[in-house]
Amino acid sequence: MNKYKFYKLIRVSLIYVILTLLTFAFIIPSIWVISSSFNEGTNIFSTTLFPEHPTLAHYVTILTQTKYPIWFFNTFKIAVMNTLLSLFLTVSTAMAFSRFKFKGKEISMMTILVLQMFPSMLAMVAIYVILYNIGLLNTHIGLVIVYSTGQIPFNTWLVKGYLDGIPKSLDEAARIDGASNLTIVTKVILPLAQPILVFVALQNFIAPWFDFVFPQLILRNEDKWTLAMGLYQWIQARAQTNFTMFSAGAVLVTIPIVILWAVFQKYIVEGLAAGANKG
């Protein structure tokens, strides 16, 4: 028995050591960036892990000199619009695929899934011209349309997989009670699909905070930029020469996202697992 306990102690402590080392490797770059954002000066070499004279000067500079508050508000607005539109599109499409029979169901599902695999780099020329034609260039709505269209195929596939797990007998029972298609969809199935809907909503809320590619294509005015794009431009220009300022900008753009993550971590992990299981 003593021998067993000894092995167990070795095993557990070994895992703790490995975990500590790995965790250190995974978070050290973040710690380095955070601490250098409080350092004085601009130099990448003079930054120390524990600044001698911690300062908030870089944060003050960014918040006052860039349009951070405007960009923040823009991104928030885009995130909310994107969440609503994406949810509407995804849910209605997934509902049709999961709950109804119609001709060409499998082929149309496959087609949209394959189409979204196309490298979007070149699609940009065409998207630009189309948005220009319908007057949505340099508008947030244009950006939201592009985002929410892009997410349809994958999320439809994900939500459909989840909806398939909800027994069809529920629909039939409701139909016998005289419920219309719309009532069945909104009152019977949607409440049961809540976990996957939260996941899709979160994903779409977070996406605009990360993306700096499409805003560069669509948004021309500095006043319309998103946070990721604005700060990307700002820190890219300063990355080599003003490292401390870069760090402060990096922290500022990351904070809202990390807060979202912390709050919704449970749903994200659940949703990821749902995608894996139901797929």
């Binding site: 978070i27 020329v125 189309i130 990360f210 890219q236 990355a239």
Partner: protein, 452 residues
């Protein structure tokens, strides 16, 4: 018994007699809708559908008479004939032409459905009248159609968005691959673009420089895709197994810390790594100052080392995603498997190899294949971390760490060789599409009984 039979017999007679009548009315409805969209619907007293369809046909006639349709075809076929700044803009002509042509085909599909649904509705009406004796109302026909086409109505917003923001751009790129759309001589406005057939493809596969670049970049893209997918997958699995191991406390704490890289926007963490690993960067000065290495290590400037660096950094950024996912999957594996294995005397390692890995692989296979496709096109990683550098002088506009997608980016944004870039994009698309079809076909989402 007898009277019942008797009744049935007469009903059947009536049916036969009415059938001719039926067909006549059905055909009339179909013919009317064939002559002008919506007329058959009017005949069926379905006023709402009738008016909508009629308006559609009027719009089509207007488009045809005003020359919109002719101009669209002319634009796509010729790509413009007047050069100069004030002249034709080939790209606008092509895209706008495609929009009109797509709508044109859509109109004919609706036209066909309009005839079909006029006949089907009429049939329903006559059946109702015959069997129940009641007459139809305009509302009941409308609501019948509404229920019948409910899934189509649900999908239509997504359908139109995908048609114009996903399908059209792909069609455009496909066509661009067969043109000479490129800087400096074929770049609108000012210059015209022409159809050149398979010239771009021939150039890519036969011309020196192009040939080497394509095969070289493709080989590295495959190496990159396979190694990163496998490493990240098993790296994430390893992390999840460690956290979920028995007797380990504070599981949530470890998980939250390890998930950090996944929560940070890639453009932040990758730019940070780029600085951290640069020639005169802090990591190198640390290594040299402490005497660990004699010279600075060219993490991102040596041809081979740069490739290893991007793979390792991606492990840092990508493993946490799998860790988060696997944590969920691992808790779903029933404990009874492990208990049975323990009773049989299996070691921890044997349990991991024979129970955990196969179970996880089985559950995550579709996502794994999709990640494979994603990594094939993982532009952000390559572009933000290494920019495809170091430059490779034997390549055309590509560096040693460039994968196909970042090569395309350089061709379009730096050189504006759109034709060649489109050509490579199509080849990528075909590869990815094959993988995608193969993988999605095998997922549960496709396997439910309704799909057959």
């Amino acid at each position: 018994m007898f009277p019942f039979f008797h009744q049935l017999f007469f009903l059947k007679m009536a049916d036969e007699k009415n059938k001719g009548e039926f067909m006549k009315k059905e055909n009339t409805a179909g013919l009317l809708s064939f002559l002008f969209m919506g007329l058959g619907q009017f005949y069926n007293h379905d006023w709402v559908s009738g008016i909508v369809l009629m308006l559609l046909e009027f719009m089509f006639i207007f488009a045809a008479v005003s020359g919109v349709i002719y101009n669209a075809f002319w634009g796509v076929i010729t790509l413009g004939q007047t050069p100069g700044i004030q002249g034709d803009h080939s790209i606008f002509l092509l895209i706008n032409g495609l929009v009109v042509i797509i709508l044109f085909f859509l109109f004919f599909i609706i036209y066909y459905l309009n005839i079909k649904s006029a006949i089907a509705s009429r049939k329903k009406i006559e059946e109702l009248r015959l069997h129940t004796g009641t007459n139809f109302s305009a509302e009941s026909i409308l609501s019948h159609n509404y229920n019948k086409y409910f899934p189509h109505i649900l999908m239509s917003p997504s359908f139109f968005l995908i048609l114009f923001f996903t399908f059209l751009p792909i069609l455009f790129t496909l066509l661009i691959a067969f043109t000479n759309f490129s800087a400096p001589y074929h770049l609108p406005p000012g210059n015209l673009v022409d159809w050149t057939g398979f010239d771009n493809f021939k150039k890519l596969f036969t011309l020196d420089g192009w040939k080497e670049t394509f095969w070289g970049v493709l080989a590295w893209t495959l190496v990159w895709t396979i190694t990163t997918t496998v490493l990240n997958y098993f790296g994430g699995l390893g992390l999840a197994v460690l956290i979920n191991a028995k007797d380990i406390k504070f599981k949530k704490f470890w998980r939250t810390l390890l998930i950090v890289p996944y929560a940070i926007p890639a453009f932040i963490s990758l730019l940070t790594f780029r600085l951290l690993l640069s020639g005169p960067g802090p990591l190198n000065s640390f290594l040299v100052n402490t005497g660990l290495t004699a010279e600075k290590i060219p993490f991102l400037s040596d041809h081979t080392l740069a490739k290893i660096t991007v793979i390792v950094v991606y492990l840092w950024a990508g493993a946490p995603y799998w860790m988060a996912l696997m944590s969920g999957v691992l808790t779903n594996i029933s404990d009874s498997y492990y208990e049975a294995a323990r009773i049989d005397g299996a070691s921890n390692w044997q349990q991991l190899i024979n129970i955990t890995v196969p179970m996880v692989l089985f559950q995550t296979a579709p996502l794994l294949i999709m990640t494979f496709a994603h990594n094939f096109n993982n532009f952000t990683m390559i572009y933000l971390l290494a920019d495809g550098n170091p430059q490779n002088p034997t390549y055309k506009q590509a560096g040693s760490t460039d994968i196909l997608i970042s090569w395309i980016y350089k061709m379009t944004l730096e050189k504006q060789w759109y034709g060649m870039a489109a050509c490579v994009a199509i080849i990528i698309f075909i590869c990815i599409a094959v993988i995608a079809i193969f993988s999605f076909k095998r997922t549960k989402s496709f396997k439910d009984e309704d799909m057959i």
